[in-house]
């Protein structure tokens, strides 16, 4: 993909993210009715869940790029996988923080260790945070690219476990919305608002990913140029 095409995609995604998030947040505050039990505080759902799903999407993207690297040995996928992990960790932090705020207002605690969903997401987040330690402890080159790719692929195994934990757990306090009764759990207005917010966060992640990737590529090319000139 050429740099100008990537930049124009980043601009389009940024504009889409701004529009969709503005619309989604406006709908969440002014259109969607209060939830029967949760009341007004249920509105955190429209930012917390899309951000969590976006974090998963980033980690899946990183694993896909890692697989492409191992398959083709093309080193450009290394930077793409690394950037996707970078974005996933940022969205992971946001998931933990917004989830913690929701827990405080809903359950009265900032965190609870008895919920497998929360603990597994924290494990997933810490796993991907350790990716950076691994990456920066190895000299740049094909070996580092392969090690990082294998690590990113291992991490993706944790995602279905984290996602399914909420459905397999017993004695839940974490709410389950997306199950077989999603039509009963969410009204039409709630589902539409959620989808708009999810599209907005995915567009935001895509835009940040392309910008970050451009920056990292520029950094790498400048290093090559410096070596060539010195």
């Amino acid at each position: 993909m050429s740099t100008s095409l990537r930049n124009s995609r980043a601009v389009a995604l940024a504009a889409a993210a701004a529009g969709l998030l503005l619309l989604g947040i406006s709908l969440a505050f002014y259109w969607v009715p209060d939830a029967p039990i949760e009341g007004f505080r249920q509105r955190i759902f429209y930012i917390h869940v899309p951000i969590a799903l976006t974090a998963y999407a980033c980690f899946f993207w990183a694993a896909w790029k890692a697989l492409r690297l191992l398959w083709t040995r093309d080193e450009r996928y290394d930077l793409e996988s690394y950037t996707a992990v970078h974005m996933g960790v940022i969205f992971g932090i946001l998931t933990l923080v917004t989830g913690s705020i929701w827990a405080r207002t809903s359950w009265g605690v900032w965190w609870t260790w008895s919920e497998r969903q929360l603990v597994l997401f924290l494990v997933l987040f810490l796993f991907y945070s350790a990716y950076f330690m691994l990456r920066f402890s190895v000299e740049p080159g094909p070996r580092r690219a392969r090690m990082s790719a294998v690590y990113a692929l291992f991490g993706v195994v944790l995602i279905p476990v984290s996602f399914l934990a909420i459905r397999l757990a017993e004695g839940l306090i974490h709410p389950v919305v997306f199950d077989r009764d999603v039509g009963e759990n969410l009204a039409g207005s709630q589902l539409l608002t959620f989808v708009i917010c999810l599209a907005g966060t995915l567009a935001l992640a895509g835009s940040l990913y392309l910008n970050e990737l451009t920056g990292k590529r520029l950094d790498a090319r400048l290093s090559e140029l410096r070596e060539a000139l010195s």
Binding site: F40, R41, R43, I44, H48, L94, V97, I101, G215, L229
Partner: protein, 65 residues
């Protein structure tokens, strides 16, 4: 403002703050890259303007006999 309203607002503001913090960090990165490009351009200009290095004289082959 009720307690629930305060927490919901805080959740949305946290997201906004993190995105803005990311933008600030990215702006710093861009200014660093711009500075580095300037340094490299200066280095390239100096190399271009420098007088060409004298070519080493070819070794004379000794004629045997």
């Amino acid at each position: 403002m009720t307690s629930a309203e305060r927490y919901v607002t805080a959740a949305y503001l946290v997201v906004l703050a993190v995105v803005l913090a990311y933008l600030v960090i990215y702006a710093f990165k861009l200014s660093r890259l711009e500075r580095e490009v300037g340094e490299l351009a200066e280095l390239a200009r100096r190399k271009r303007d420098a007088p060409p290095e004298p070519e080493p004289e070819p070794k004379r082959e000794e004629v045997a006999g």
